[in-house]
Subunit: 128 residues, 2 copies
Amino acid sequence: MNIGEVSQRSGLPAKTIRYYEDIGLVTPLRGANGYRRFRESDMHKLLFLARARQLGFSIEDCRDLLALWEDKGRASADVRAIAQGHLTRIEARIADLRAMQATLADLVCACAGDARPDCPILQDLARD
Amino acid sequence: MNIGEVSQRSGLPAKTIRYYEDIGLVTPLRGANGYRRFRESDMHKLLFLARARQLGFSIEDCRDLLALWEDKGRASADVRAIAQGHLTRIEARIADLRAMQATLADLVCACAGDARPDCPILQDLARD
DNA sequence: CTTGACCTTCCAGTGACGGGAAGCCCTATC
DNA sequence: GATAGGGCTTCCCGTCACTGGAAGGTCAAG
């Protein structure tokens, strides 16, 4: 398979796939013409990566997850620890965003949003 | 005021304040020794920026908000539009994160997390 | 033989800074 | 007056995970 087909089948942009090779997440073969030649196993890795990235795992998390996936003698505890750490970070991020959302929603609600200059949003940002 | 005091009073790192000058958000004066000299008005701007950034506004949003703040004849509708757009993006981001969180929480819950290799998390990531 | 799609590498930019080097300035102390 | 220390300056590189674009090689169809 050339990169175009892999890109289609995985949903990952070709640029991203090349990047993943650069940083050592996949190592496709090379044809005589210099083109990358992807095996089915490369395809599987890329699908795995695409799904892990969709779940918001960092590239380094993905690297570790891939290694555990390949390691048939792994302990599921190691996988769980990565996922748990990621989940905790996501929950913290959600809490932050929800705080922003609450404040912003209040402010937007309090602002008339008309042609006059008085604006509770700016007042709040400029409060002393 | 020198940058150190401004940094203390605003809570912004000195590096960040220099960066804000670089991109034209504040323009402190300069002393004969080359040091930045901040006026009270610069201080107010930086506090304004710090609060807007805490609410997650992008730098470009902040630039626009600052301009509106300075413009005494502004329409509050313009401010509200920026805040509303930002709020919408935050809500979308929260929705994304909540989807990740739900999936991850399920997977973490389903994984024994012991010394054995079988792991629903990896199974899900590698599903065909 | 040409066209156009596909592939290659390399370089630069994103957002919003942070780290660190090299060097000047100011104050206090000896 | 020398020195030590802290604060200030600029400059450049690194972050994260790509994305865009330029310049050029390769392949299949007409």
